[in-house]
C-alpha cells in the first residue's frame, strides 16, 4: 500500500518485510555485530536531540551505545553529521559505513550516501534547505535528488516528515517521525522508545512527539 505521505523506491512498493529486518538484526547483535546509524542534516535541525532519543532507547534495551556528536559550528547552518552505534560491545563512537542513514535534508542525504553499506537503508526527510553557496556561486541545488539516490541504492524511503508534523501542529516533531520509521527496522523494544522520548524531549512536547513516533511507525506498513 502506498501512502501519499511517502514516496519511495521500487522495493517499497512490494512492502519492506520489517519482521525480517528485526530478526536479522537481533541475531547479528547477539553475534557481536554493531549496528550503526548515521544522522545527517543542517546545523539547527535537531540532530543532537534525535541522536539522544535513539541512543537512550537502545541503552534502555540493554545495549552498549556510543554516540558521536558535532558541537561548536553546528548551530551556524553548516552540514552536520553524527552517529549512533549499538551492540553488545561498541568500541568506536564514529561509524565507518552505516547500516542506516537518517537524513533530515535531501542534499545532505546525497552528501553522505557514500557512507551507506551496500545493504543499508536510508530514511530521508523531504526537505530542501539551500546552502548559501547556491545563491552566490555557479553551483545549483540538485534538481531532483531522489533519482540520484536511486541510482545508488533502492533501499531508500522518503518521508514527508515536516508536512505530517505540521498536521500535528508541531513542525519540530518531524525528526521523531523519522525515528518512528526507523524503529520498524531495528530491534529496540517499543516501550524503550517511548520511555526515551518521554525522558528526552521537552516536557510540554512529549505528547506530540509520542504521536509523531506512532505516525512514523505506521507510515510504511
Amino acid at each position: 500500500m502506498k501512502d501519499n505521505n511517502i514516496s519511495c523506491n521500487k522495493s517499497c512498493g512490494k512492502k519492506v518485510d520489517f519482521e525480517y529486518h528485526q530478526r536479522k538484526w537481533r541475531k547479528l547483535i547477539d553475534d557481536g555485530s554493531v549496528l550503526s546509524v548515521l544522522l545527517a542534516g543542517v546545523g539547527g535541525q535537531g540532530i543532537l536531540l534525535t541522536s539522544k532519543v535513539l541512543s537512550e532507547a537502545a541503552m534502555l534495551d540493554g545495549l552498549d551505545v556510543k554516540v558521536s556528536e558535532v558541537h561548536g559550528m553546528a548551530q551556524r547552518g553548516g552540514s552536520v553529521v553524527g552517529s549512533v552505534r549499538m551492540g553488545k560491545r561498541v568500541y568506536s563512537p564514529v561509524a565507518g559505513k552505516a547500516d542506516f542513514i537518517i537524513s533530515l535534508e535531501k542534499l545532505e542525504a546525497l552528501r553522505y550516501i557514500n557512507k551507506l553499506k551496500e545493504d543499508g537503508f536510508i530514511i530521508l526527510s523531504d526537505v530542501e534547505i539551500y546552502p548559501i553557496s547556491v545563491y552566490s556561486g555557479d553551483i545549483s541545488y540538485p534538481e531532483d535528488i531522489n533519482p540520484e539516490i536511486e541510482s545508488i541504492t533502492f533501499n531508500y524511503i522518503v518521508v514527508k516528515a515536516v508536512e505530517i508534523a505540521k498536521r500535528l501542529n508541531e513542525a519540530r516533531a518531524a525528526n521523531t517521525i523519522l525515528l518512528g520509521c526507523l524503529s520498524n527496522f531495528i530491534p529496540i523494544s517499543y516501550k524503550c522508545w517511548i520511555e526515551s522520548i518521554k525522558k528526552n524531549v521537552p516536557h510540554d512536547a512529549v505528547d506530540v512527539n509520542l504521536k509523531a513516533f506512532e505516525e512514523g511507525k505506521r507510515i510504511i506498513n
Binding site: S68, E69, P93, V94
Partner: protein
C-alpha cells in the same frame, strides 16, 4: 527495559565534570573553547564547586595555580590553542608544583572541527615535564580526573588530561558515583617552592627532573596502561599494536586478533612496559593521530624490532575505522606481514603508495557554516566590503565573514591578533592608511584585545578598531563574559564596557552604533576611517540566538517592485532566498532585523503584518 540506575550516557566533557565532582574538586576555571567548553558548563551545575569563566586561558591557569597553592583540589580546562595563551604560567608550574591537587584539561581538535590549527598538544607534556593521561571513552574521562588528582598530590605536580574532539563530544556509558570530600590543605608560605627567582628556580629544576624519573617508574608500574591479549592470537601474534585515546577504540574494532598495549599515561612513556610488550614480537605498529609522539619515543628505546607508524598514516586530520581497515589489509593481506613472519624484514617495499584516502571531490554543493539570519555582524562586514577596506580579523563567529558573498576578511590568526596585525600593516605600508580596519568580538576583546589596543594608542596608530559586541561569547555556545554583568555561577557582577576601556586607554574617537541601522553604520565607519588618529567603533546588538521575541510584523519582498537585481543576495542572509526565478524572504528564518530594507535600492523589501 533495563533499570539504568547510576548508568548515564555522557559526553567526555560531561564525564570530566562528573569526575571533578566525585573527586572532590573545589575550584574550577576555564575560558570557553571548542571542544572543551562543556566541561565548565557542566561543572557549574554542581553547587559544591566554585567555578568561573576566566577572562582568558592564561588567567585561568594562574587562578588555578593560586587555588592549588591555597590547598584546594582544582581543575582548569581549555582547548588546545588555549594552552598557547597559558603557556607562560604552565611551563613554570611544573617547577613550583602544587599544594591542592591540580588537573589541567586540554582538548585537542584533530580534523579542525572548530579551530584554526590542529597542533598536537601532547608535546606540551614532554616540553614541561607535566605528566599526561589520555582517556579513550567517557568512563575513563571521569575516572582519570580522580587518578590525575591522586598523582598530582603524590608527586607534587600538576597533571594533564588530554582529550580530543571525539572524546569530548562522544557519548558512552558511565557509571556515576558519589562525591568524596577531599581534605582541604591550607596555605603554607614556602618561597623556595613558589617564588621562581633564578636561585630557587634552579633547585626546582632538579626537583622536576627527579620527579620525571619517579613518574616514569610510576607509569611503568601503573595498571592504567593495559595490555590486551585476544583469545586467538595465532593469526597475528607476531604483531603488536601500541595506541592510546580514541585511536584505541578504532584499533579494538579493526584488529580483533592482535595484541594491544593501550597507554593511558602517555607521558612519560612507560618504556619498560613497552619493552615487555615487544618481547617475542616481530613488528610493532604505533597507531596515533597527528604527530608521531609515541612513535618517536618508542623508537628511541631501541627495541631491536621493526616499528612502523606514521609512514602508514596521515599526519593530519583524524584517524577512522576506514583508515585502519585499509592498514589491516595492507599488513595482513600483503607481503609485509609475510616477510616479517619469515624473518625477512628487509625484503620488499613496505611503504604503501597513496593509501591515504582522498576526500570526495564532491560535485555536491558545499554547505559551510554561515552567520545566522539576522546576525548583527553581517551589516558591518557588508559595509566593510563595500568600502573596500582591508579587514584584520579575529576568532569568533565573525570569522565566517571570510566566505562569499561577504568575503570581507583578510586575516585570522589567533585570539586577539587582528589589532596588532593592523598596526603592523599600517606601519609597513603607508598606502594602506585610511583603509585598514581590525575587528574583534566582545569576548575576544576582553580575552586579549585590550593589550594591543593600548599598544595601538602608544605607538600612534591611525587605524580603526571595530568591536563587535553581540553581548555574548557566541561561537562556543553563548557563554557570559565580563561585558554581560553575570558570572558563570549566575551572580550579578560589574558590567565592563569596551567603550569605557577604550576611552580610558586614551582614544578620543570612540563611537557606539547599532549595526541594524545600516545608513548610520556606514556613515560612522566612513567618518572614522577618514580620521588621522586611532578610532574605536563599538557595534552593539545582541546575538540573535540569545532570545527571539515573536514579532507581529513580517519582512517581505514586493514582487512588483523587485527589479531582480540580486543585490539583496549579496548581503548573504540565509533568510533571503532565490528560487524559481523569484526573490523571497523565508519567514521561518527571518528575525525581523530589517537591515535588508536599506540594502534594496528599489525599496522592494517592505514590512507588513503577519
Amino acid at each position: 527495559m533495563v533499570n539504568l540506575k547510576n548508568l548515564k550516557l555522557l559526553t567526555g566533557n560531561e564525564a570530566i565534570a562528573q569526575g571533578a565532582y566525585e573527586a572532590g574538586v573545589k575550584i574550577a576555571a576555564a575560558y570557553p573553547g571548542t571542544p572543551s567548553t562543556e566541561i565548565l558548563e557542566n561543572i557549574s551545575k554542581y553547587k559544591e564547586i566554585y567555578c568561573q569563566w576566566s577572562v582568558n586561558e592564561k588567567v585561568a591557569m594562574e587562578f588555578a595555580s593560586g587555588s592549588s597553592i591555597a590547598g584546594a583540589r582544582t581543575l582548569v580546562a581549555m582547548k588546545h590553542v588555549g594552552l598557547n595563551v597559558a603557556a607562560d604560567p604552565f611551563m613554570t608550574l611544573s617547577y613550583t608544583g602544587i599544594n591542592g591537587g591540580l588537573v589541567i584539561v586540554f582538548a585537542d581538535d584533530p580534523g579542525m572541527h572548530s579551530s584554526q590549527n590542529e597542533q598536537d598538544n601532547r608535546y606540551y607534556s614532554k616540553f614541561s615535564k607535566i605528566p599526561m593521561l589520555e582517556p579513550s571513552d567517557s568512563q575513563e574521562a571521569k575516572d582519570f580526573v580522580k587518578e590525575a588528582l591522586n598523582m598530582s598530590e603524590k608527586f607534587d605536580t600538576p597533571v594533564i588530561i588530554r582529550t580530543t574532539t571525539r572524546i569530548s563530544h562522544s557519548r558512552s556509558m558511565v557509571r556515576v558515583g558519589e562525591r568524596c570530600n577531599s581534605k582541604s590543605g591550607s596555605y603554607k608560605k614556602n618561597c623556595q617552592k613558589y617564588v621562581m627567582i633564578p636561585a630557587y628556580g634552579m633547585q626546582r629544576h632538579r626537583v622536576l627532573l627527579e620527579r620525571w624519573e619517579k613518574l616514569t617508574k610510576f607509569s611503568e608500574n601503573s595498571e592504567l596502561n593495559k595490555t590486551y591479549n585476544p583469545p586467538d592470537i595465532s593469526l597475528d601474534g607476531n604483531v603488536g599494536i601500541i595506541t592510546s585515546g580514541i585511536s584505541y577504540q578504532y584499533v579494538r574494532e579493526v584488529f580483533t586478533n592482535t595484541p594491544i598495549l593501550k597507554l593511558s599515561i602517555t607521558s612519560p612513556v612507560a618504556k619498560r612496559t613497552v619493552k615487555e610488550f615487544a618481547k617475542g614480537k616481530k613488528l610493532l605498529i604505533i597507531i596515533e593521530e597527528l604527530e608521531p609522539f609515541l612513535e618517536e619515543q618508542i623508537k628511541e628505546a631501541n627495541l631491536g624490532i621493526k616499528i612502523i607508524g606514521k609512514e602508514y598514516f596521515p599526519q593530519f586530520g583524524e584517524l577512522s575505522l576506514e583508515i585502519l581497515e585499509d592498514l589491516y589489509d595492507e599488513i595482513f593481506g600483503t607481503s609485509l606481514f609475510k616477510a616479517i613472519s619469515s624473518g625477512n624484514t628487509n625484503s620488499g617495499n613496505i611503504k604503501p603508495e597513496g593509501n591515504v584516502k582522498a576526500p570526495d571531490p564532491g560535485s555536491i554543493p558545499q554547505r559551510p557554516p554561515v552567520l545566522c539570519a539576522g546576525c548583527p555582524h553581517r551589516p558591518v562586514f557588508y559595509i566593510l566590503k563595500k568600502l573596500k577596506t582591508v579587514v584584520m580579523g579575529d576568532i569568533g563567529c565573525y570569522t565566517l565573514s571570510v566566505l562569499p558573498p561577504l568575503s570581507s576578511l583578510d586575516s585570522c590568526l589567533c585570539m586577539g591578533a587582528g589589532i596588532g596585525q593592523a598596526l603592523g600593516m599600517e606601519k609597513a605600508d603607508p598606502e594602506l592608511k585610511g583603509r585598514i580596519v581590525s575587528v574583534i568580538g566582545d569576548s575576544t576583546f576582553f580575552h586579549s584585545g585590550i593589550t594591543p589596543l593600548i599598544d595601538s594608542v602608544y605607538n600612534k596608530s591611525s587605524g580603526l578598531i571595530i568591536i563587535l559586541d553581540n553581548r555574548t561569547t557566541a561561537m562556543t555556545g553563548r557563554q557570559v563574559n565580563p561585558g554581560i554583568g553575570k558570572t558563570l555561577m549566575g551572580e550579578t557582577t560589574f558590567e565592563e564596557k569596551p567603550e569605557v576601556i577604550a576611552r580610558a586607554a586614551g582614544i578620543k574617537n570612540v563611537k557606539v552604533v547599532n549595526p541594524y541601522n545600516l545608513i548610520f553604520l556606514e556613515k560612522t565607519i566612513k567618518e572614522e576611517l577618514g580620521k588621522q588618529e586611532l578610532s574605536v567603533i563599538v557595534s552593539r546588538q545582541k546575538c540573535v540566538l540569545l532570545d527571539r521575541t515573536k514579532s507581529s510584523e513580517r519582512v517581505y519582498i514586493d514582487v512588483v517592485e523587485c527589479a531582480e537585481c540580486g543585490l539583496c543576495l549579496k548581503f548573504g542572509c540565509p533568510a533571503i532566498e532565490y528560487r524559481n526565478n523569484e526573490y523571497t524572504i523565508n519567514e521561518l528564518l527571518c528575525t525581523n532585523c530589517k537591515v535588508c530594507i536599506d540594502i534594496c535600492k528599489k525599496g522592494a523589501i517592505k514590512v507588513g503584518d503577519k
